[in-house]
């Protein structure tokens, strides 16, 4: 089992919520938990890339979906991975209703703040998964 938690964000490019998941994922892997996380792009899983499939099958995976179709979660499961925790932007927004996201190419301040709130939740879950893995190793 990989010692890094894999983050798989929604890869949608046409809607604000997809942008929020991508931004939050980057915040986790580039800022908050650089040493313990990595991104696997959804496009590789859609194609059935063997390396990407093996990666999600051999690690704890956190998915971040932008809409109810839950592409990230579904694609990880179809690739044979187990989703340790799935996050949705809509749920994050319900918990942070003051942070209204707008924009697609560039998020507004509310979207950036919502992405940070989501990233913080994901980072906390990463810690729990790592701690749990260490405890039971």
């Amino acid at each position: 089992m990989s010692d890094r938690v894999i983050i798989v964000p929604c890869s949608g490019i046409g809607k604000t919520y997809g942008t929020v998941t991508r931004e939050a994922a980057y915040q986790v892997v580039e800022e908050l938990r650089q040493e313990t996380t990595t991104i696997v792009p959804l496009s590789l899983l859609v194609l059935g890339d063997e390396e990407a499939r093996a990666a999600v099958q051999d690690a704890q995976v956190i998915t971040m979906d932008g809409c109810s179709l839950a592409c990230a979660t579904l694609n990880v499961r179809q690739a044979g991975g187990v989703v340790a925790k799935d996050f949705t932007v809509l749920d994050a927004f319900r918990r942070n209703k003051a942070l209204k996201p707008k924009g697609i190419s560039e998020l507004n301040d509310g979207g950036q703040a919502l992405a940070r709130a989501l990233a913080d939740e994901v980072a906390q879950t990463v810690d729990e998964l790592i701690d749990g893995g260490n405890t039971h190793a």
Binding site: P9, C10, S11, G12, I13, G14, K15, R22, E23, A25, Y26, E30, I39, V40, P41, L42, S43, L44, L45, V46, L47, D49, L69, A70, C71, A72, L74, N75, Q78, I104, S105
Partner: protein, 245 residues
């Protein structure tokens, strides 16, 4: 009345999050969609192909698409072909770099300012392909260019997006169960506008056209035809009512 987006080109960007070139594909696609060719393009969601996005699959099956990839794995092009149809055009960032003698893009979450020319060049290449595809005749039944002659003016207007809402879906009852038929209303509309009427058996063209957009299970053609006949008659009654109302 829902309409099929007859004169739209779908853009499928790989959007790979682990490569700067993936970010380039995403930003270039958005530039085309939002700035360069907003009236002629829609975005096709690549992950939805596998997650069951029938609208995206149907669009890519019957309308021209441009796959835009960040690396030689060509996820967007190959996944589009795997789940729908061969893209009408396929562009890889490396080819654009070579054509324009540009340096490899840098940055994931935020591209460096020096990478912006790569986005601009790629967006220009996508827009050029859009213009080309809008100018040729496209066979929706074959999912391919027919010839390089200018297309006749389409009578049907376009819808906004292929992500679930671009292709209308109608629910009919087939042998007691609810079945969703992709693009039924536009098919009926086209048949009616071509002069067909509900004055006898279901015109065979309707079932044939429905089968272009939908999978009719083997052995259930007659049951589907019966359901379509009911929908066809109702549609004709509605149109006649409008004509005389």
């Amino acid at each position: 009345m829902p309409n099929l987006p007859k004169r739209k080109v779908g853009i499928v960007a790989c959007s790979g999050e682990e490569l700067p070139a993936g970010t380039v594909t995403r930003l270039a696609a958005l530039k085309v969609l939002e700035e360069l060719r907003p009236s002629e393009t829609v975005t096709i969601c690549l992950p939805l192909f596998l997650a069951g996005g029938e609208g995206d699959r149907a669009f890519a099956k019957f309308y021209p698409t441009i796959a835009v990839d960040g690396c030689a794995k060509r996820c967007a092009a190959r996944a589009t072909e795997l789940y729908s149809n061969t893209p009408a055009a396929s562009i890889v960032v490396d080819d654009i770099l070579a054509q324009h003698n540009l340096p490899a893009p840098q940055g994931l979450r935020r591209l460096t300012p020096e990478s912006q020319p790569v986005v601009d060049a790629l967006a220009g290449a996508i827009a050029a392909e859009v213009d080309h595809l809008m100018a040729v005749r496209w066979s929706r039944t074959e999912g391919a260019i027919l010839e390089a002659a200018p297309a006749a003016q389409e009578a049907v207007s376009t819808s906004a997006c292929a992500c679930g809402s671009g292709i209308p879906v109608t629910t009919v009852e087939v042998a007691g169960r609810a079945v969703q038929i992709m693009a039924l209303e536009p098919v009926l509309e086209l048949a009616y506008n071509q002069g067909l009427r509900a004055n006898g058996a279901l015109p065979p063209e309707i079932l044939q056209t429905v089968q272009v957009y939908n999978t009719v299970p083997a052995g259930e053609e007659a049951q589907y035809a019966q359901a379509l006949d009911l929908a066809w008659r109702a549609y004709c009654e509605q149109r006649e009512g409008q004509n005389h109302g």
